[in-house]
Structure formats: structure tokens, C-alpha cells
Symmetry: C2
Subunit: 245 residues, 2 copies
């Protein structure tokens, strides 16, 4: 892990931009001076495009840091300045065509769009966790917060260091993810934007039902994709405080 | 309104048992000594049977009082020591027969069970609000928290002093309630126990969808009817703090 730049943000969070091999990412910590014990870590998931997503990710990171957590994110495979994934690009073109033609988006397109991304992103997240937990200022447990939900589900199944997750319900969930969801046992908070046009509500409710976790909570609100109310952000903070401290 | 007994509870809430005509009820306030400005009021709804429900109602009332709110509840028509409602008793017997015979509970039974109760309970709640708001230590705005959801919906539609409501999703919702729900415009927090056997989940989701409110939130959790997690109770408190203060 190579730190490429660092800065102290307003409010005290210490931000490091890094690369891990070819993968760019960010790490935010409460700051080496103030950290007495190693901080739990929250991984911030997103739909790809670190540059575009930076303001929202940094805002979420500051909230994590305010709770005494470290937060980190990495670029998704095929997004931002990373080389495109040929298979996903083809699926994305097919998706666009289907939507423009007013046709339903078939499971086949969803699988080709999402599954290669999950297969590639999850090992990258795990290597990132290895690297971050090797830093003295970061300890376990680890939480995952955000989309892509299929990535969050796979991580929750295969990565035992993930102790709790806040998942943002979104569309384009492969059928395989519904089956993997049954194997998830960690506490979950699932956020659903009830009236999000880009979101298949029924599919989100089915996925919530499928999760094997004994402790799972669904919080649904009005408004579009980026309209999650402030009070639900606060609730996500409290969820991690309950499960990562 | 006639106070029949009063006591100071552990934690400082001041409890008054009262009767309003033939209707018994309870009022909890932060206590006359400490109250500087009139307190907002939270009406605590319940499925009937004040005596049985008292421990849970008193616990919820203490939380309201801790936020600086007054809380009050009254016995439902036909419950506890109040005279039975003949129509509802007949419907209840039909309901029991249908369930024992493994038959679906028809809309007709639900209507006969719930609608007369709503028609009678809602004016009683309104008279109670009149009486309580005439006390110097209680001011507006007023919130409603609890079941029976059809009563909460009707109150939210007809009683302009109700500014926000926390509704507990339950079964046996008359079709008319779905239509009334469209006229509700106040902020809502709907609590749904996802795996409650006594609860028709699909119907609860439809009702949530039907509400006309621009600000409505659904919080779903695992566990049975009385298993609402502590953190959702905390969220209900914060909801009222946002909307009643």
C-alpha cells in the first residue's frame, strides 16, 4: 500500500490517498495523534467512479471518523481510471439497448454486468482489508457500508472479518445473490429508497427476506437514489457503534 | 376529566389515572414542578385492555417524558372494563371460527371487527385531546404512537392537531383504511415486525405505499409482535423530537 497524498480535513479526519497495486483508494482515520486504541474499520462501498463519488464518500467517512472508526474505499474494477472490463462493457451496452427499447432487463444481462464485477472486486476488498489491518492505528472488527449490494453480500459471506453491514438496496441483483444472501448471518441494516425509479422495490424486499441473518433491519424512505435522509445516516452510525465497538 | 389517582414514578414522570366520562385513561407528564413550557403530547395507542397493556404503555410513557413530552392513553371501546361492543364481539367470534377452520379471514369480518371500533374510538381520542390540551402543562403539537393502525390512520386524517405518527403495522386492516391512508399527509414512521405470524406483511407494505405523506419511513425488523428492538424505540423518540418540538 503506497500513500500518494495526505491531508487533514476540517473536523479532524486524516485522509490518505493510496494505491494498492493498480487500485486507487482512500483511507480516513481519526488521526494518528488522537488515536489511542486501534480503530474499527468501515469499508465504504459505491457504484464505481471514485472521483465523482468522492464528496459523498468523504462525507460518510467524516461521520465514521466522528464515531472513532477508520473508513476506507477503493475504486471498483473497470471504473474511474482503471482499465475497463470487456465483459461488463458489453453487458452495459446490452443493458442500455434493452432500456432504450423499453424491454425488460433479462437475468442474463444482469449476470454478465454484475457477477464478473463481484468476482473481481471482492478479492480486491479482502486484500485491502489485509493491508489496512496491518496498520497499527486500525484494528477489527470491520463493517461494510454501501452498494453494490451484490458485492456487499458476497463479502459478508466469504470474509469472516466483516462483522456487520449497512447495504443500500439497488437494482440489477443477480439471482445468485439471492442464494448467497441466505448464507449471510451478520447483523444487517438495509436501506431502501421506496420511490427510487432506478430501483426494483419488490426485488429489494425479496432480497431482504432472503438474508439468513437473525438480526436484520430494513429502513425504507421516500425520495430518489441519493435522497437517503440525514436521520437514516445517523442510524447507520448508531448501527456500527452497536456492532463494531 | 376526573383524576382518580396520581403517583410519581421512578425516573420522575408524574402519572395520573383519570376517567373522562366512562372512559378510563392515564396521563404522564414531566411533572408540574419541572415543566416550564407546556409539553407536546404523545397519544399512546394500543389494542385494548389497559390493565394488561399498562407495563408496556408506562414504559413508553417514561421515554416520552424523558424527551420532555406528555403522554396519554385511554381504554378502547369494548375493552378492559368498558361494556362490550355487540357488533365487534360477533365479528370476533366469526374471526375465531374462520381461523380455527383454517379459512381466510374475509374483508367482511375485518370490517365488522375494526370499523365500528374506529368509528367509536376516534371521537373519544379527540375529546381526550380537548381535555388534555386544556391543562396548562400540556400544549401542542400532538403525536400518535401505536396500534390499532386503522385508528391511527383515521385520527391522522380527521384530527388536524395530530402532527406526526408512529404506527405499528398489524393485521386486519379494513379496505377503507387503505383509501383513508391516501389522505394522510403528516410525517409517519411505520414499524413492521417482518416475521410476525399475526401480521400480514404484504398488506402492511401496501398500506405503507398507500400513505399520501411526503415524509414516510418504514422500519422493519425480525421477531414477533412484541419484539420491536430497543433501537427502534429510540428511533421513535427521535422521530417525535424532530416533529413535535
Amino acid at each position: 500500500m503506497q500513500v500518494t497524498s495526505e491531508q487533514r480535513l476540517d473536523g479532524g479526519a486524516f485522509e490518505r490517498a493510496f494505491t494498492l497495486g493498480e487500485i486507487p483508494g482512500f483511507l480516513w482515520t481519526p488521526g494518528s495523534a488522537s488515536a489511542s486504541a486501534p480503530s474499527p474499520l468501515v469499508l465504504l462501498g459505491h457504484p464505481g467512479g471514485l472521483h465523482t463519488m468522492y464528496p459523498r464518500l468523504a462525507a460518510r467517512a467524516r461521520r465514521c471518523v466522528a464515531q472513532g472508526f477508520a473508513a476506507a474505499t477503493i475504486e471498483l474494477p473497470g471504473s474511474g481510471e482503471r482499465p475497463r472490463l470487456a465483459s461488463a462493457e458489453q453487458a452495459r451496452a446490452d443493458l442500455r439497448r434493452a432500456i432504450q427499447a423499453g424491454q425488460p432487463v433479462g437475468d442474463d444481462i444482469v449476470d454478465r454486468l454484475i457477477l464478473p464485477l463481484v468476482d473481481k472486486a471482492v478479492p480486491e476488498w479482502r486484500v485491502t482489508v489485509d493491508a489496512l489491518l496491518s496498520l497499527p492505528e486500525i484494528g477489527g472488527p470491520v463493517g461494510y457500508a454501501g452498494g453494490v449490494i451484490a458485492i456487499g453480500v458476497r463479502l459478508a459471506v466469504v470474509e469472516p472479518r466483516i462483522a456487520a453491514a449497512v447495504l443500500f438496496a439497488g437494482s440489477f441483483v443477480p439471482r445468485a445473490t439471492f442464494e448467497e444472501a441466505q448464507q449471510v448471518t451478520i447483523p444487517l441494516l438495509v436501506l431502501l429508497q421506496w420511490d427510487d425509479e432506478g430501483n426494483d422495490r419488490q426485488s429489494a424486499l425479496e432480497l431482504f427476506d432472503a438474508f439468513g441473518s437473525k438480526e436484520k433491519t430494513l429502513h425504507a424512505n421516500m425520495g430518489g437514489h441519493t435522497g437517503v435522509p440525514q436521520f437514516e445516516g445517523d442510524d447507520g452510525d448508531r448501527f456500527f457503534v452497536r456492532h463494531l465497538r
